[in-house]
Amino acid sequence: MLLIACPWCGERDETEYHYGGQAHVAHPADPHALSDAEWGAYLFVRDNPKGEFAERWMHAAGCRRWFNVVRHTVTHDISAVYPAGQPRPVPPSDEHSEVTA
């Protein structure tokens, strides 16, 4: 059960959200100008990285706002949350520290 911080409502359980797939995949301005292959890529092809992934979530049980999350697909660590329409933040250069036993 992920804990996701809605930019508005704060931290809520994953079950309050709907997942929206990869972020920053804009609907093409003029789909009809695209080839079938390009349109097909928009419809069906998404990244599937092992590591950090910018993805969309919507606070369905709360304020119903769409926003973006950078989540590590292996560790589920969430390193950034930012409103829809904003660019993906540049990660800080230093590695986040690890707690040691």
Binding site: A26, H27, W39, A101
Partner: protein
């Protein structure tokens, strides 16, 4: 006490001698004490053996005093039926009854009336384990003012101190524990949960804790869902078994457990005990056994040079210390009668003569394995510490700290220090800065000397392939010979060997045997240490929990939210048969006495087609779409146009996803130039609103449109049939209901005869003249009853979803989600008319893709079974005549999506998605049925009733 069971000491222990409890095990009555576990009470009565082993039926006895016991499985019969419980964790209660199990329990057929529930709680610091380290951590964190929760699986805090004789600050350790407990209970923001086992540690410190609540009426339990800023794991350690021949014989026990039974439960588990150890901790067991009056003829230490002070103390107690030696075999039948001891070389080979020592108890300490289960579940790494001979927590992956013996610290002062430090650090990290208190001085549990692990004590004869009585996982009856076979079969990964041998997969999930097994594997692989082999993955739950606990109150009527309309009480009174549509409970039909569904639905259909009928349509999703750009917005989302829809008019629309597949449909009314009232299918209301918000927020933020769900604001009665006009005329006396004044697909506001304002739409999902009367849901029931009253003279008939489905199917109207499945375009449905040519909309580009233009796509068509009495099952596959039904796969033409008996057609009919269906009209297709019959049907246009649409105006 004259009737004291033979092995119960006269004094001591944390048992209440004033509270004898009667209990039954395997049909025999015994007496125990409050504070006992079932295991300690059995041992007090001299009962050691529990059920035989699962596969080899070898006698097995109690081994440990906790959750890690590999043998002590029982079936509880009273106070409630509960399978696969461990005698070592079942608290004794008066009247308890249990039987030993041979590896398998049985579920009671009777409903479990025990109350289980759940609770969500947030905390700054969660401390798992109330032993010395955990208590110290909770004290430090609690003093900081942080919110603290301390959970422990025992009935009282103290952990290992409950089983020892240590002293803290010059007093018995349990006095310190009592003081710590009192302090914690006085802290307003600290909560101590006993009988509460942390079973899972998940992402973002989501920790599940299973609490047993035997003191509640009817018992039961609670599953706590904790969300913690910081977690301190003070989970302690499990004592490891040793792998030698005959190590599963009843009477072979964990040395720490023997000590626990002695000190905590005042039970002497043997009269003549041999102790077999790889380290220091078992010396306390030997000395305390001797002090309690047991004979201890030998202490076998694998180390050639055990600490001199320990050896001296043992000798002073009359215990012979056999250094550099190992137990190599056991004697006896269902109970141990003696052990065989041999010296070990530096290479762990047997050397010299074997000595036999008679005994009825062998207390074994194979070393200590920190309980890293939760740490690992939280994705923390572990590393093998060669000095400790144990896997210990290494790097945390979350805000988690381990302390005490749970990270390999085995002296009391060290555990307290680590606990105080971890608690203070956790509180500080959670925003409550606090300096760690100084640990008080301790006696009786000093830092141990390094152990000498011996992972595999050789057999006296043969080689590993023949060592079938060297048990590695006794619960699975898996032995060294089994591991050897796995290694010989080429397996190297511990995960593969685990699956091949089933080691670690039984009820205890390898809690006791896991690391011992890794040691054996390392030896047989020739690895330098268990660290080279590594551990298997730790998975929750840490201890088995019942499904009833996981379900909590989400069972029976509270299983899942149920949605009902304002008219629901009337439906219930009228005897409706309900069906679930999503979470809605909707009337499916209203049977009259003696009617089955077919009869009721045929009657309801006839009423709608021949007179007047009424349905509660309140479940439709309803959304107010408001703003100057509302028309532009709907034009972009719907395949057809809404910008030119006149105010006061309604239009049917279809929405597609970007891939061009039908997503939803419904009727939208334009109430004002900037105000549309949109309806969705019942099941899609939330999804459509989400979809609209997605486009508004992420793609078209410039559009000035706001959407508000009003699904429950409105109650809707659909009045349907040729006589509906006269009913509505009577119901809304001020409304001109003539076809000219109130034409099809328009909307009128009206005040009903009872004074209730209404919004009335002339729309039809049946092909008949029909009206949808929308009122505030406060008046939904009153208006429904008024409709029935004003329609009574015309024989108005309430109808349910089944009739609604038949009526719409007769007209070829698809139901999104029934006749479509996310792979169907509007064109597939034969609805090219709803797809605008001269505007763009979401999904339009997809209609130009090669795949959506194929001529052999599946089209929605009608099917008329050749035998008009034959009802095709929905979902039935369709094939062409002559198709080879033995081919794999069979060449399917499509499937039946809807199938009904029609009163209007006086026969059965169906809708189906059929490959190139519109080109097959007039052809015959076959439906091979599971009962072996093949039913022939003729492909038709989907509109089977009133194809010219003449009935909608009445």
């Amino acid at each position: 006490m004259s009737n004291r069971p033979g092995n119960r000491l006269a004094a001591g222990g944390r048992v209440d001698r004033s509270a004898p409890l009667r209990f039954t095990f395997d049909g025999v009555e015994y007496t125990g004490l409050r504070g006992d576990t079932l295991a300690s009470a059995l041992l007090a009565n001299g009962v050691l053996a529990v059920g035989p082993s699962l596969y080899r039926e070898r006698p097995r006895g109690i081994v440990t005093a906790g959750v890690d016991d590999p043998h002590a499985l029982v079936q509880l019969e009273r106070p409630c039926s509960d399978p696969m419980q461990l005698a070592t964790t079942v608290e004794l209660s008066d009247g308890l009854a249990a039987t030993g199990l041979q590896g398998r329990g049985r579920l009671d057929d009777a409903p479990d009336e025990t109350r289980y529930d759940k609770t969500y709680l947030h905390t700054d610091v969660l401390v798992v384990g109330a032993g010395p380290a955990g208590l110290a951590a909770a004290l430090a964190a609690g003093r900081s003012g942080a919110r603290v929760v301390l959970v422990d699986d025992q009935p009282e805090p103290g952990g290992a101190l409950l089983s020892g004789r240590e002293r803290i600050d010059g007093r018995p350790a349990l006095a310190w524990v009592a003081e710590a407990r009192a302090e914690l209970e006085a802290q307003p923001e600290t909560r101590l949960l006993t009988r509460a086992t942390a079973i899972g540690h998940h992402d973002q410190n989501y920790v599940l804790v299973a609490e047993r609540r035997p003191d509640r009426p009817g018992g039961g339990g609670r599953l706590w869902h904790f969300r913690a800023r910081q977690v301190v794991l003070a989970t302690g350690a499990h004592e490891r078994p040793l792998v030698f021949a005959g190590n599963d014989r009843p009477g072979v026990m964990s040395a720490a457990a023997v000590r626990s039974y002695l000190n905590r439960y005042a039970v002497l588990t043997g009269r003549r005990a041999v102790v077999f150890t790889t380290g220091d901790s078992a010396y306390a067991t030997a000395l305390e056994l001797a002090a309690a009056g047991a004979e201890v003829p030998a202490l076998v230490d694998t180390r050639p040079e055990p600490p001199a002070a320990l050896v001296k103390a043992a000798r002073a107690a009359g215990i012979e210390v056999l250094a550099g030696a190992a137990v190599v075999g056991t004697e006896g039948g269902a109970r141990l009668t003696g052990v065989r001891i041999s010296a070990l070389t530096a290479e762990e080979q047997l050397t010299g003569p074997v000595r036999e020592v008679a005994c009825d108890l062998l207390a074994v300490s194979g070393g200590w394995s920190p309980a890293v289960h939760l740490w690992s579940m939280a994705r923390g790494t572990v590393r093998y510490d060669a000095t400790l001979a144990a896997f210990v927590p290494d790097r945390a992956a979350q805000e988690v700290r381990a302390c005490g013996s749970g990270r390999g610290r085995h002296d009391l002062a060290g555990c307290l220090t680590e606990g105080f430090t971890a608690g203070a650090e956790a509180a500080t990290a959670a925003g409550f800065p606090f300096a760690a208190p100084i640990a008080p001085p301790c006696e009786g549990d000093t830092p141990p000397a390094p152990p000498r692990p011996v992972w595999l004590v050789p057999g006296e004869e043969g080689d590993p392939s023949t060592w079938r009585d060297h048990f590695v996982d006794a619960q699975r009856d898996a032995t060294v010979a089994d591991v050897h076979r796995a290694v010989r079969a080429g397996m190297r990964s511990v995960e593969h060997i685990k699956r091949y041998t089933t080691i670690g997969t039984a009820h205890d999930q390898g809690k006791s045997c896991g690391v011992a097994a890794i040691g054996v594997i390392a030896r047989l692989l020739g690895a330098r240490s268990p660290g080279e082999v590594g551990t298997t993955t730790f998975r929750g739950p840490y201890v088995p929990v019942s499904f009833a606990l996981l379900a909590g109150r989400e069972r029976g009527p509270l299983f899942d939210p149920v949605r009902t309309t304002a008219v629901h009480p009337w439906h219930v009174r009228r005897g409706a048969v309900f069906e679930n549509v999503g979470q809605w409970h909707r009337p499916r039909y209203y049977p009259r006495p003696g009617e089955d569904m077919d009869a009721a639905v045929l009657r309801e259909c006839r009423a709608a087609r021949e007179a007047v009928a009424v349905m509660d349509a309140s479940t439709l999703g309803k959304i107010d779409v408001i703003g100057p750009d509302a028309a532009v917005f709907l034009d972009r989302l719907y395949t057809n146009g809404f910008a030119k829809l006149p105010v006061g008019s309604a239009r049917y629309g279809v929405m597609c996803r970007a891939d061009g597949m039908v997503f939803d449909d419904g009727v939208t009314v334009r109430l004002a130039p900037d105000h549309y009232y949109l309806t969705t299918t019942t099941g899609n209301a939330a999804a459509v609103l989400d979809w609209m918000e997605e486009w508004l927020q992420t793609e078209w933020p410039e559009l000035r449109v706001r959407c508000t769900s009003v699904t429950e604001q409105w109650s809707t009665a659909a009045v349907v049939g040729p006589r509906s006009r006269e009913v509505v005329a009577a119901l809304a006396p001020g409304l001109d209901v003539s076809n000219d004044a109130f034409p099809f697909m328009t909307v009128r506001d009206a005040v009903l005869a009872n004074g209730v304002p209404a919004r009335i739409c002339r729309i039809s999902f049946s092909g008949e003249l029909a009206y949808e009367i929308n009122v505030s849901s406060w008046y939904g029931l009153a208006v429904w009853e008024a409709v029935l009253a004003y329609g009574a003279h015309a024989g108005i008939t309430p109808y349910g979803t089944e009739t609604m489905h038949v009526l719409r199917a007769e007209k070829g109207y698809p139901i999104v989600g029934q006749d479509t499945d996310g792979t169907v375009t509007p064109q597939d449905l034969g609805m090219t008319w709803v797809v605008a040519r001269h505007k763009d909309f979401v999904g339009k580009r997809s209609f130009a893709r090669a795949d959506t233009s194929r001529a052999d796509r599946r089209h929605l068509v009608g099917l008329l079974p050749v035998d008009g009495g034959e009802l095709l099952p929905e979902g039935a596959q369709l094939v062409a005549p002559g198709a080879d039904l033995t081919a794999v796969p069979v060449d399917s033409l499509g499937h039946v999506t809807s199938s009904y008996r029609s009163a209007a057609l006086d026969r059965t009919f169906a809708l189906a998605l059929v490959r190139g269906g519109r080109d097959r009209i007039g052809e015959t297709v076959l439906a091979p049925l599971p009962d072996g019959r093949t039913v022939a049907a003729t492909v038709t246009e989907p509109v089977l009733f009133d194809p010219k649409g003449g009935r909608r105006d009445g």
